[in-house]
Symmetry: D2
């Protein structure tokens, strides 16, 4: 992307109206550098160009909305992710205790909850209601997949008097949030739409960390450990673990580094061959001949090129329906060794929902508590059409247009993937 | 079974030769009652019949083998089960420290390890080697499935000078142990074969508890919790968990009681219908209409009657290959609601290998430490063709012929299943 | 105790009045044998004596109270114990769903909650309220220590119209329950008092298992593992863990067997010497000289003989205030080696409250669900002045008079302690 | 510190001699910015000053040592910390597999292991030896406290032919590493000394993250949860948790944010009063009167001003011996309420060693694997008198002189402490 686009500011609703007192504030001019590289910065400065940077998150000295009158709403969308209840809790606590916002509505079951005909009555959210939800997985608001009509959502928001809308969700939800913010703008509504990125795959563009990822990796390592235990127990044991990662291999790669027992890691960013010398089957065969067992970690989005033309199937959220690479590999490996009359012991593990449904671990809980706080600061200051992201460990405001529909990927030449290659010794897996 | 058969004694090799000193001993005449029911006992006594009882386990005053010369061997067979390493460790520690047996061989990868051509060199087992294995899942000896030739095993045992053989395994292994003991007898070998029953399903006949079951239930409840979290998050959410239990539903039923979130529990012992009013689909439909979500726990051996004639497929261990009831249910439920044009959110969880590969929890560790001790006491006293079992909380010696090839089942009229019915309120699931 | 006393029946309120239908029932004549020993039973039968047995628990065909009118109350007393919320939940669910009892009061903060001046308003208990409490440690009703006036409690029970009182607590609470039942009898009240024994130490007389113990051992093994990790890390490392066990060493002994890293286990039932050859300090010194590290597990009630005359201090529950053997040992050991000018690395761990506050593990949850069900069956059938216990794995009714004020102990000659002696190799620890 | 000091380069041994091939390399000129603040950078640039930055870590194109001949040594010092075995494992794997260094010595029990008279024979480290150590807490090398004579260490390093020394330890160890590096320089030895900062308190200067902290916070939240469960169970329940943090409150503050049940958090950086209106006792009293329970988290280094003049006691590592603020608070609170004749239920929890002895969680494991890799890259390139640190999420080389003897602290005006103040609502705790 162009630097000019990246350096775009975040939208605000008019000029802030009110003052709060006490504490330290962050100026709207404060910006966080995207790159930490000194020479890159000096070079840009030498050319008179401003380095890429993003608006710093944090409490603003002036706020836009009147806490005594404003009504906030929270909605959680898409697949489960550890930390959703942490986000809900922190939004409510911060709105209520720091800003004095007493009217907070929980929209139930995602965007469906805006549609009266779906019959999901909204939930009035209070500090008491959210006090003990941190140890629970899932989301007390429920979720759903799929888009809804933006004008009807606006109608419902108007009817309910909502002026702060927090939308917690993945790529589809953030795209919806952006389109909704545009509808809001067109209709001249006085309503801030603030996104909180939720992606267990950790692949939303620009923002370097998303909540739940840490917890997901923790549990994924248990699955890898199980696969290893099974694989070593049997002659020619093969442990095959399918992990999350539709478009990116962050969970698979990171879990492989945490646990160090994987011998092959397959991710969407790095193509591999099944056949030929050097291909996966050949390499697995050699590994089994030498060591007697092997562990394979595959991200669900890996190897989609084996499925020929995608038929363009999409699920209710508009996500491409992926062919199941886990079962494909299981069948291919079993077939390969059956053809060789070699008995193997295949152990297939798919821990998906057992990961998604966990409560957040401590690291994610702390991260969520800051993320939600910053979303509240932004919304109260009248920021809109934006999400709260994380760059170089700092929280920033990012225009929704900058992130929605774009993804981060594992860089095949970067340190994460290089470390995986070192740990596994798997080579290129390209067959000749 | 007839009382006379049940009251059969346990085989011993000749009369014990040697003395040990110190400690409390258990007499060979000590017997443990099978029934705790006073009136049953009094009634038997009134009729001059001896109540059913089993030989009590425990250290004997006289032992048969000379610890200084005897060589023991340990083999673990079949699927993984939490506690295998506890068993190995306790056998080694008890043989070495209590009886002074210094020669202990670990046979690798199950019965395969007896066949020189398989190339699995045996492992010399010492206290130092097994000291830190309690926290590891699996078995340090490895395992395998499938039978081997008994005469060849006897040849190898003779060649290696083994006189104590501990066979840790499930129904197939215990049957093999019995046949092996008969071959040993025919050949006039001076060798004790002692079985240690391993069944994560907890369904070996007569013995009421098997190691690993406790740990399995603990982890299975995590899966049920995950399914519940997923199910409640979505409109019309269905959490479907496939648990272990080829012939019996102990894990499924017990996990459902521990976690209390299951709405339907399906086990091999209790047939159910898919169709018709009152059948599973109808009941699920009603549950979803009323509550908006449902959790189904299915044991892998449930509902096999849906698959028509079994084709007699067996795996390498001789276990019947079951059709996958989990995926069958998943498809059937999705099909049913698709036909009704009702969107549901199906979440399918199969935690099998993540359960089997765990290390034992504390309860199982303690149980294993006693089970293995009793196996050593029995073997040193010259007991053979037997296994160590557990009746009414007491350890007993059971003839292999009594248990091998027979299973325990969940009693559909007993307290466990009645408690499940109360907890789930699922009714009979028989369609009209 | 005499057999006649042990065979005493359980009190019932008049004769049951009503019928319920369906299911299997347990007759009031059904009795569970205390001993499993065949020869003991045959010998008793030969002498014309009835063997010791206890009334079997279970649903009765006739019940005494009218579910539509009766009001039940639940109170939890004393120290926290994993499973309290499981007990509360199962009592409520069973009363409500099986018997149709709609009026259930939760007394808050133990017996204090009966005293209006304490200001703890009771809680109306419903299935919805208790649905999600299984994952929470502690008790949603709160607890407290200390006795209260029985006549005043009766006054309050009458005022509230309570006819079923479930008292969950330890030795002090069960004694109070018995005295309360006597007051109830004297006053001619139509009220059943049913005790549910709660002792994390697992030492209530006769009943062989108490809820929470399994969970406590699980967490205690974590503490022992920590102590071992610390001890081996340092030259002359000593890990010292103080575990629960005021009068009995079940937790200490069982955790030591589960984890197998303890070198010395000290329990109230087995006296030991600090000084002299063979005493603890001498033995520890030798162990450190030989192996460089040691792990000591001490139950809180061990070694109280070192403290001279007890000053008769009792806490609010009437429990003797114990001198802290953990800190005593820590000081004594440090002093001993300081005097020898030997540097040691002492690591002291006291996990008490981290254990007590845990939610129940799966095994305890299942146990609690049966225990509470049986308490409800007993109470509805008009049983009173009794508790639900567990003998040889079966649930029984025990008169409160039989258990209150009496304790189980680890038998120094029995298999548990013998196994600990084998595992630790600690010897007698008696100094010469 | 002055910018010039901060921008100091890292020492290298002469100029690198050899080439390696393949992969991406990091130039010695690559530098990582300390500040992410755009305006700060632009302002510095406007004044012609170079912003503060640090040398980027990563593999260098040229290496200094000959892998075929070089001998590396690893030593772990001071208190246990989750991740030590991860560090050891990754150092060995990277040295062996990436660089081909076959000679790696493990020094046992910290710096003591260099002294022959201590009798701790070194351990030859191989990939096979370290393969399965990730799941173990502690350090397989052992540790110890206390300094040793640098000239003697140099003698031993020379005798053993060590040229790469990795020292893993806290502030004392890093100071020792710096002094050792100076001795090495004076003696003209060809030996690189690379520090790997280990501080469970996360307070080593400049570097923003240290391994084990994440795991420590995770376990600390369990302790806070226990304290909360105990506190709410009793009338006037007070849960008091003493956490690690000798000079900084990072663990206490972060755990309080993760768990959100603490009502008072006390850290070394923020003084508080016991007495007076607004002081801790007054505030606690008010909290108990209003809510009936309270949870207090105290870092071990908090409130040292209550102990008058420190007597200058230091432990074997040269760390100041702190008075025990946990027991001080326990006594003070109990005394305060006793004087008021108010019964409270005090529950004191000190999970110290149960935290330190844990294996690393997945997040720490991944962090350790990168940290150790970068240490190997640095050492092989001939860097010395340095440590590997982490700034803004990037790994950097820091001169030991810059970090040793300096600490990071929680900024009382920064976002971490402000978030704690919001979460607890504890106020200033300064008495009037």
């Amino acid at each position: 992307m162009d630097t000019e686009i990246l350096n775009l500011g975040v939208c605000s609703l008019a000029s802030p109206l009110r003052f709060t007192h006490g504490g330290r504030f962050v100026s709207d001019d404060a910006r966080i550098l995207k790159s930490l590289d000194l020479s890159e910065i000096l070079c840009a400065a030498g050319q008179g160009k401003e380095p890429v940077s993003f608006e710093a998150a944090g409490p603003r000295e002036r706020i836009y909305f009147d806490p005594a009158r404003v009504r906030a709403a929270i909605v959680t969308c898409g697949g489960l992710c550890p930390g959703l209840n942490d986000i809900i809790r922190s939004l409510v606590i911060e709105l209520y205790h720091r800003y004095g916002v007493g009217n907070i509505t929980g929209i139930r079951h995602g965007l469906q909850g805006f549609m009266p005909e779906a019959g999901h009555a909204p939930l009035e959210l209070t500090p008491a209601l959210v006090e003990r939800i941190l140890d629970m997985g899932g989301t007390i608001l429920g979720s759903s997949r799929g888009p809804q009509d933006f004008d009807r959502i606006c109608d419902e928001l108007e009817r309910a008097g909502v002026q702060l809308l927090f939308m917690v969700g993945g790529d589809g939800t953030l795209t919806a949030a952006h389109l909704l913010a545009e509808t809001v703008r067109k209709r001249g509504m006085d309503l801030a739409v603030v996104g909180i990125p939720k992606t267990i795959d950790n692949d939303i563009a620009i923002t370097e960390r998303s909540f739940g990822f840490d917890t997901a990796v923790e549990e994924a390592t248990r699955a890898v450990r199980s696969a290893h235990t099974e694989a070593v127990a049997y002659p020619m044991g093969v442990g095959l673990i399918r992990l999350m990662g539709r478009h990116s291999g962050f969970i698979a790669a990171t879990a492989a580094l945490a646990q160090q027992d994987a011998n092959f890691v397959l991710i969407p960013e790095v193509p591999f061959d099944m056949d030929g010398e050097g291909g996966l089957l050949w390499s697995l065969d050699r590994r089994l001949a030498e060591r007697g067992h092997a562990v394979i970690v595959v991200a669900e989005g890996a190897g989609q090129h084996f499925f020929g033309e995608r038929e363009g199937l999409k699920d209710a959220s508009g996500n491409m329906v992926l062919k199941d690479i886990g079962l494909f590999l299981k069948d291919a490996i079993e077939g390969y060794f059956r053809a060789k009359d070699q008995v193997i012991a295949m152990k297939y593990i798919d821990p998906g929902y057992m990961i998604r449904s966990l409560p957040a671990n401590a690291g994610d809980s702390v991260f969520c508590s800051f993320l939600a706080r910053h979303a509240v600061h932004a919304a109260m200051a009248g920021k809109t059409d934006m999400l709260v992201g994380c760059i170089n460990g700092a929280f920033v405001h990012l225009p929704l247009a900058l992130c929605a529909g774009r993804r981060r990927h594992v860089d095949p030449g970067g340190p994460l993937w290089q470390a995986v290659l070192e740990t596994t010794g798997q080579g290129s897996l390209r067959g000749v």
